[in-house]
């Protein structure tokens, strides 16, 4: 038995080492100026100083943030409204809402981006605006995650009883839903929104295909610097990974807290 525990531990350590290797090597790479031998030389934070002073890079962070907040806000609102209708009035419609929400999961980035592009590239109105296309695409691509999150939250509480109780006390259905149900499932909404942040934050396909390079987010910035200056790119990489880890950590923390409840 002892031998077996050692073997499983060894296996896990091995997989962890494999998964962390590219990360660790790139982090070390970003901290040294010279690495032509096995041991790197000349520790320096210079590349971080350069990019953190680069206005273009800071603008990228702001753009990425905007590209997260707006579509997630839109999707959470429209799915909540749709779920309000399906839970309170027409439960039979839920099936269709679910199907519509799950389609983006199967078609994924490439097909979604080219189909939106081909549908609206010649449209003259605001639909032809590349930024509108991008935000629309983001709103759609995160639907599966937001839908599932809200659905999970709702299945944990008894929506019907709560709504009826509120109605008996004289509240309108709409009021009951948004003032009683939504606050109760807020933590699930936050968790799914954070998952969506992770998706949009890591997106390259949609932003490249839909906007070319006109809307430079952090991924595009990394792509362009990695073609020209790999030391600078490694610092960008580390900052992107730090933000990603932060998002994951907060998501995991909230998830665990919810489970304890």
């Amino acid at each position: 038995m002892k031998k077996k525990t050692k073997a499983t531990t060894f296996l896990m350590v091995l997989i962890m080492a494999y998964l962390l290797l590219p990360l660790v090597v790139t982090i070390v790479y970003s901290l040294f100026q010279k690495w032509t031998d096995i041991v790197p030389e000349q520790f320096s934070l210079g590349s971080y100083v350069i990019i953190l002073q680069d206005k273009e890079f800071l603008l990228c962070i702001v753009r990425t943030l905007a590209a997260c907040v707006i579509p997630i806000g839109i999707t959470v609102c429209i799915i909540l409204l749709a779920m309000f209708v399906t839970t309170v009035y027409f439960p039979s419609l839920d099936k269709y809402v679910q199907i519509i929400c799950m389609i983006p999961y199967t078609i994924q980035g490439v097909i979604l981006s080219v189909s939106i592009l081909s549908a609206y590239i010649r449209a003259g109105s605001f639909l032809g605006n590349r930024l509108v296309m991008l935000f629309g695409a983001y709103s759609v691509i995160i639907m599966p995650y937001i839908y599932q999150g809200i659905k999970n939250g709702m299945s944990a509480i008894n929506v019907k009883v709560l709504t009826e109780a509120a109605e008996m006390l004289g509240a309108a259905r709409m009021y009951a839903f948004f003032r009683i149900i939504v606050p109760n499932i807020l933590s699930s909404i936050v968790v799914s929104a954070l998952l969506a942040v992770g998706i949009i934050f890591g997106d390259y396909v949609l932003v490249r295909n839909l906007t070319g390079t006109s809307f430079q987010n952090m991924q595009i910035y990394l792509y362009q610097t990695m073609k020209s200056d790999s030391t600078k790119a490694s610092a960008v990489f580390v900052i992107i990974m730090l933000i990603t880890c932060l998002i994951t950590a907060v998501t995991l923390y909230l998830k665990n807290k919810e489970r304890e409840k």
Binding site: K4, T5, T9, L11, M12, I15, M16, Y18, L19, L20, P22, L23, V25, T26, Y29, D37, I74, I78, L81, A82, V85, T86, L93, V97, I100, I103, P104, T106, I107, G109, V110, I111, V114, S115, I116, L117, S118, A119, G136, A137, V140, M143, G198, G202, D203, Y204, V205, R208, N209, Q219, L222, M226, S230, A233, F237, I240, T244, C245, T248, L252
Partner: protein, 274 residues
Amino acid sequence: MALLPFLVVALLYEIIPLIMVIMNSFQSDAGTGITLENYQTIAEKLLYQKAIFNSIRISLISSLGGIVVAFLGAKAIAESKGKIANLFMTILNMVSNFAGVPLAFAYMVLLGNAGFMVHVGQKLGISALADFNLYTSDGMSMIYIYFQIPLATLLLVPAFAGIRKEWKEAVALLGGKEGLFWRKVGIPVLMPEILGTFSVLFANALAAYATVYALMMNNISLLPIQIAGSYVGEVKTRPGLGGALSVVMMVLMCLMILLTNRMSRHFQKGGNPS
């Protein structure tokens, strides 16, 4: 009324574009009218045959590789449940968001032409490392396997909760070794989850774009690259052809889902695979 905003967004950015792509695929890029010309081009031209073949190949290889490692990893998590297992889960969650351009860049630093491992290989005289070429389809397969492992493991971990200790004990009582247990009981019981995970991995690899594009630009023949290329092409766009390629890709995904569903039904009925 409250359903309206949802329907508008879904229609505008999901349903209409999808219908447009399918319709485009039946329209000639040169003339007008309904035609199967685009599908014919795909079937005849070596470039597109290769793209389809390469995409299926890399998706199958990476999904298989990913699922084998994930099976061992998830099994280890289920069997240990200690601090290490917790750490392992945290790292898996962390790394599961590690894909696309950042992953491509990290592999460039690690195994690219002047990469760290290449230096190590040269210094220590390991020719497999020193001569490794990342910019080939084997190099790409390696990166694909990398991003499949965390996803696959996270999907498989919950399934192992279904393996009951009593079954292992029963097999042991009858004189069976652990290997026999997994061959005859464990793996068949887990098969529906394994197959489901496999189809998710397949779709994930088939649609992967950013990682390959960041390393290879358009110098590799894969379906997503060809699709994107025919819309955002350098010379002129070919929406008809791109549409047809997109349809091919969606059909491939659906086929894999159907196939794995069918196979897993076989296992759920308790049929014996051997």
